[in-house]
């Protein structure tokens, strides 16, 4: 397996917390051609990446009907046609980051279903190829981009090895897994992944997207949804199930410094699950004697949430929910660039009071990702 030695940058960073204007924790950079990824993947599986259409990947078939990129900027190709808005790092920097005042963007890529692909080795090879390619083509040449170590969690040993391989690279700021999963993520088989996260002081990011694909159970607790609208509307339930599992199985007793960032899940369901969980724990806690604190205490301390897409609500309702979940500390700005079909990501946080907006745009991300962001 190829490894990439961290290289130093041409010049040191000059920005500080005070000068930062915005940190975007969710930029979906995309793959123009799998031919580009293949050289960065383990040699034995490169031929599977270069087959026509890319590597075999199970898909769920839910699809946005309508304009996918909303008002996101679009490049124009030589023939005057609109191109993909997230395949060229220099263009993305100039047309999105610089224009919108974003200083740092964390790359989350286009592959969010690796953890439910049936072939563990294939999934791990894709993760390695994408990670190396991201580092070489997006992160090393640009200060403004930071990476996520993509892992395929159905093989925890390989996932942990990938984290160890790249965990101290200054360009990587978190570990990224699709939230779609055969089993809830609190289960002990996944703990080596969390141990590796903690070993390298990396937050764990979970991102929806593979639900219902491959080895995933149906995308809801009562079977397959009918439409993308229903599928996407239901996806926060996956985070609820993972939260229940990780708290109940004692993940945060074992890994007390682990932080988990939940992408694209919204926040309005959190009061319900915190209060329901606490109430049940009072009566049933003898079943899980290792869960020493009220579940809501772990949820408040260990989980972080992102802004795209926040539930549609009044400003008063949003303020009330943020107070209930201590969102002042736990909410992070995410643009979901270039997938702006639901609207402009900055408009979604316009209603926040200025001090809180500053926390969401900059300070909370700094607290989650630490010094690595500015390295």
């Amino acid at each position: 397996m190829s490894t990439i030695a961290p290289t130093s940058r041409p010049e040191d960073r000059t920005d500080t917390l005070a000068t930062l204007r915005a940190i975007d924790v969710d930029l979906h950079h995309d793959i123009a051609s799998w031919q580009d990824i293949a050289p960065y993947a383990p040699q034995g599986l490169r031929h599977r990446l270069t087959r026509p259409g890319g590597p075999p990947l199970a898909r769920h078939g839910f699809k946005i009907i309508g304009p996918r990129f909303g008002e996101a900027p679009r490049p124009t190709d030589a023939n005057g046609r609109a191109g993909h808005p997230a395949v060229d790092p220099a263009w993305v920097k100039a047309e999105y980051l610089d224009r919108r005042g974003v200083d740092i963007a964390i790359l989350t890529g286009p592959i969010l279903s690796l953890g439910v692909q049936p072939n563990h080795d294939m999934a791990a090879a894709i993760a390695t190829g994408v990670n190396n390619w991201t580092l070489e083509t997006w992160i090393r040449p640009f200060h403004c981009f930071k990476g996520s170590i993509l892992v395929a969690h159905q093989d925890p040993a390989q996932a942990a090895a990938e984290i160890d391989r790249l965990g101290d690279d200054p360009g990587m700021v978190q570990v990224l897994m699709g939230s779609a999963s055969e089993t809830p993520l609190g289960r002990r088989q996944f703990h080596p992944i969390y141990a590796a996260c903690v070993r390298h002081d990396l937050p764990l990011a979970l991102h929806i997207g593979g639900e219902g694909a491959g080895m995933s159970p149906p995308a809801t607790a009562v079977g397959h949804p009918t439409t993308h609208f229903e599928w996407y509307g239901s996806l926060p339930q996956v985070y609820m199930a993972h939260i229940m599992s990780m708290v109940t199985e004692g993940v945060f007793e074992k890994f007390s410094t682990l932080k988990v960032v939940l992408y694209e899940g919204g926040i309005f369901w959190l009061p319900h699950i915190m209060w329901r969980f606490d109430k049940n724990w009072k009566a049933q806690r003898s079943e899980t004697p290792w869960v020493n604190e009220r579940p809501s205490a772990y949820i408040r301390r260990h989980f972080y949430h992102t802004t795209y897409p926040l539930e549609l609500s009044s400003q008063e309702e949003l303020a009330a929910v943020l107070e209930m979940i201590e969102g002042e500390q736990t909410l992070l700005f995410s643009s979901n660039y270039p997938n702006w079909e639901l609207g402009d990501p900055f408009a979604m946080i316009e209603g926040l009071p200025a001090a809180l907006r500053r926390r969401v745009l900059v300070e909370n991300a700094r607290a989650v990702y630490g010094e690595r962001l500015l390295r």
Partner: protein, 374 residues
């Protein structure tokens, strides 16, 4: 004309006199043998074998699952005797009308829907004979199987005019979300007879049901029970997104024992998505939250318990609880909410809506009809 006004006034007076309506009382079936008089002869061989095999779940409560003081030491049953329930629940907690949800909600997740549909019919007759006809304070649920919509629709039509039956009841555990058109025959029958449809948690992950979460099986009862509300949310999203409430605008749908204050998430997320994604669901005519507020009801138990009571009220306001929430005790189960204690911090008008008026709107005038003709 005078007569009409008099009758309406009487109805209003009777509603005004109500103190509390309980939408979730689990009366217990003493044994499957009790159904023999109500079961066609061709099925009696099943009873001779002790009844059909039953898929049961692994997840077990740390206690018995019932309140200790709800168990009658003479027969070991909790809520097995209507007189017991009248004294221990209705009188003690000042409940005027109780809707029976029984102990057979999960029939629809058993494999053999032929025998289970027969059992559901017999069970409904048993409920009428032993609980509803002898007692004006109890109302029954028409227990149905999501797994056999044709048989369920027929059962709804068979009992749909019975004044003792106030709703259709199915398990929230399912293989296919409840918005799917395969279930619409049940809903059409319910609408024809002015009956709401209720779903109730508990059988998740058992028998033919989907795993209890969208990421598989939890490990513990604590996790399993807390996860239950996700099945409710999934059904709620499905019912709205598949257009059930557009097709059947008068259908009322009640979510029992799945919590309440997740509804603002469903409303807020679907309303966020709808303007951008409506090309995919062109049959919808209103914002998703409008369907939820018009057609859905949520029962209180187990009511969420934040440290700061005001936060619960804030969430309830977001979902217009004054129109959408009804009281449930879940008697005799372990997480019973005491109506004399749990709602004392609620504003009086909201409490009145939840305790009485919303239930009257959910079930309609039948809730107050006599059971004599049941």
């Amino acid at each position: 004309m005078t007569l009409v006004i008099e009758r309406e006034a009487t109805f209003v007076d009777r509603v005004a006199a109500l103190r509390l309506v309980d939408t979730d009382i689990h009366n217990d079936l003493p044994s499957i043998e009790a159904l023999r008089p109500f079961l066609a002869k061709k099925w009696h061989l099943w009873l001779d074998s002790g009844g059909p095999g039953s898929a049961t779940r692994y997840y077990a409560n740390m206690g018995s699952g019932r309140m200790d003081d709800a168990v009658n030491e003479d027969d070991g049953l909790a809520a097995g005797d209507p007189e017991w329930v009248v004294q221990q629940l209705m009188t003690k907690y000042r409940i005027d009308i109780g809707v029976l949800t029984g102990s057979t909600i999960g029939l629809g997740i058993q494999h053999d829907y032929h025998i289970q549909a027969a059992i559901a019919s017999a069970y409904n007759e048993w409920t009428l004979a032993t609980w509803v006809r002898p007692y004006e304070c109890f109302k029954g649920s028409i227990v149905c199987l999501g797994s056999d919509p044709a048989a369920s629709a027929a059962e709804v039509r068979r009992l749909g005019q019975n004044p003792g039956m106030v709703q259709v009841l199915m398990a929230s555990a399912a293989r296919i979300p409840y918005g799917n058109t395969c279930y619409w025959p049940i809903y059409r029958a319910a609408v024809e007879h002015d009956l709401p449809v209720a779903i109730h948690v508990g059988s998740e992950g058992t028998g033919i049901a989907n795993p209890p979460t969208a990421v598989g099986y939890p490990s513990t009862y604590l996790e399993f029970h807390t996860d239950h509300s996700q099945t409710m949310m999934a059904h709620c999203v499905s019912l709205i997104a598949d257009g059930v409430f557009e097709e059947l605008p008068t259908l009322k749908f009640a979510f029992i024992e799945g919590g309440t204050v997740w509804a603002p998430y469903v409303m807020g997320r679907l309303d966020r998505l709808y303007p951008a994604l409506k090309a995919e669901v062109p049959y919808l005519k209103m914002r998703p939250s409008e369907y939820l507020l018009r057609n859905c009801y949520f029962s209180t138990q187990p009511i969420e318990e934040p440290d700061d009571h005001q936060q619960l009220l804030q969430m309830l306001r977001m979902m217009h609880a004054e129109k959408t929430v009804v009281f449930a005790s879940d008697y005799p189960h372990w997480d019973f909410d005491n109506p004399l204690m749990a709602f004392n911090f609620f504003p009086a008008d909201l409490k009145r809506r939840i305790f009485v008026e919303n239930a009257v709107e959910l079930y309609g005038p039948r809730l107050l009809e006599s059971n004599r003709g049941a």
